[in-house]
Symmetry: C2
Subunit: 337 residues, 2 copies
């Protein structure tokens, strides 16, 4: 099969930052599906791994990355019960396994959902990784319940990005929260409002911007930009007994004690945790993806697709990574095979 990968970590402008190659079609294990991929999406984790996973080394066989995918089930392992050959599926993959920048991929059925029927393949391909991340951060990490938390406020730092866009929708439409999102350009402000944000504030002078919007403190904060850089601001803006959550990681130790007098909680969310540790509740990702598919088909959620490239080519992957690396993409980019 055709695949695109890299043997060494290079700047995206370098000729061999991505290379096309032929490799064996993978064989499904007991609970795996073999999927023929129709469309993929790119996420910031893709370029972080491309930039860092083969630094100062040259791999023997190219590494295939990419996680979001939509495709059709072509074969199933002997213990598969959730899907059949011919099913249309979507998923965000497993960071410990081979990625989706290829014609075929194997994937554990427990982290696969049915493709939303009403969406095109490119509209569906951009959903899994960001929707799983946003769903898990809201409902599994913070444990927001619509019953307990309806009407509370949430600040989403990085509202116009891929995770930010679907997080706005879930926070507003499923959790019933009042959503304040950060964005600073006319086109990103407009995008956040279209996702359902009640207020859009500039990330520069964030404290006064949130206060001007009418919020002394907010109940929840989602950080999709930089935990260290926003720590003091989040400490100031979070309500007593509030909850901050982030996906960014932090390169430096954190003054955690600054949250103590307010009895504040902090959560990390990594969408790969369940598959990486093969947790007992790994199948929850199957259920989340199916719930999201239902919500998309019911028109309650909508795709965050903003740009489509055509063809599984080195050129398209380079272009997609370059766009993401700029930090200025709005919503999501799909690549349709």
């Amino acid at each position: 099969m055709k695949a695109i990968g890299f043997k060494t970590s290079l700047p995206i402008t370098e000729k061999e930052s991505f290379i096309e190659f032929e490799t064996q079609k993978p064989v499904p294990g007991a609970r795996d599906l073999l999927v023929k991929i129709d469309a993929i999406s790119v996420n910031p984790v893709d370029f972080k791994i491309r930039q860092n996973s083969a630094k100062d080394t040259v791999l023997e066989t190219p590494k295939i990355i990419g996680w979001d995918a939509v495709g059709i089930v072509q074969a199933v392992g002997e213990k598969v019960t959730l899907f059949e050959v011919g099913d249309l599926v979507y998923y965000a993959g497993d960071i410990t396994k081979q990625g989706s920048n290829a014609e075929y991929q194997i994937i554990d059925e427990r982290i696969v959902g049915r493709k939303p029927k009403s969406l095109s393949i490119e509209e569906a391909a951009v959903i899994p990784l960001t929707a799983l991340t946003a769903w898990e951060i809201l409902f599994d990490r913070i444990r927001i319940s619509a019953e307990r938390d309806k009407g509370k406020s949430i600040l989403i730092i990085g509202g116009a990005g891929g995770v930010g866009s679907i997080a706005i929708q879930l926070a507003k439409k499923i959790a019933g929260l009042t959503v304040i999102a950060t964005a600073s350009r006319p086109e990103t402000i407009d995008w956040c409002k279209k996702q359902g944000a009640d207020y859009v504030v500039d990330h520069k002078n964030l404290i006064s911007a949130v206060r001007e919007a009418g919020f002394e403190h907010v109940d929840f904060i989602l950080d999709f930009v930089d935990t260290n850089a926003y720590w003091d601001i989040m400490t100031e803006l979070i309500k007593p007994q509030g909850h901050i959550a982030s996906i960014t990681g932090s390169s430096n130790p954190i003054a955690l004690n600054s949250l103590k007098s307010k009895s504040v909680s902090f959560s990390w969310e990594l969408m790969y945790t369940r598959s990486m540790f093969q947790t007992d509740d790994m199948i929850e990702q199957h259920h989340i993806l199916n719930k999201v598919a239902d919500l998309l088909d019911e028109g309650i959620l909508k795709t965050t697709l903003n740009q489509t490239l055509n063809g599984l080519t080195v050129e398209n992957l380079k272009k997609a990574h370059e766009l993401l690396e700029s930090g200025r993409t709005i919503g999501k980019i799909a690549i349709k095979f």
Copy 2:
């Protein structure tokens, strides 16, 4: 009225580390109760405040500390609706106000509960601060729900202390968790088992002790000893998607990133947050104290009283602080007036 306080922070062995004095009986504000105190308890926060709140200074009037109390309502403010004169009450107070080491105290009705009927005044006096702390950490910070979390495991570091003792009971009997508590002396091990701990492990070599008890990881960890000292151990022992919570504060920055790959959450709990920030849900402490009173009267929870001193005297307060400062007390100490 008679009160006991201090004008300067001194070692407990110093003559004037506590002094007895006469002061005006306080007058209740609109939502306050005036309580004639019958018994109090001491907590580690008491000696921390005695040691630090009047360092290198001499106050004009002595500072009255102490928070747990049981007493009888003697007068009420004009907006009080939850209690009447003559009611027996218990409460853990408000760190921004005058404490309970005195004959009378005023206290906002929203943080007061009815005294458990079946308990003596000294048995009841030891409950409020620790029960509120343990309840809030389990159900408000971690958001444990019996439905979602029944049968999961919790490690309680510092099982035989005041908060540890009642946390073991709540985790076991109300949350339905499997409880592993730390203790190292025969008498503390025995005490933890009496509170309901399923396993008691030595805090020295904690990782191997927990593993030997049969747990590779635990779902929840409560730290009642030292966040910085236990950080690496907690990072290792916590289950992916688990939740760590602490009441200790941390003097140094924390390597928060070490929890990221597991998508772990961390919460601070400070029982004073609600009253200090006058949160909208401050009355929740009234409800928690009443629920705990019901559970004590039903025999589901039991008092953690282990030692009673008789009389509101300088000598007894010094003795109680000295015992707590040793770090070796088991359960709780009450002072009966």
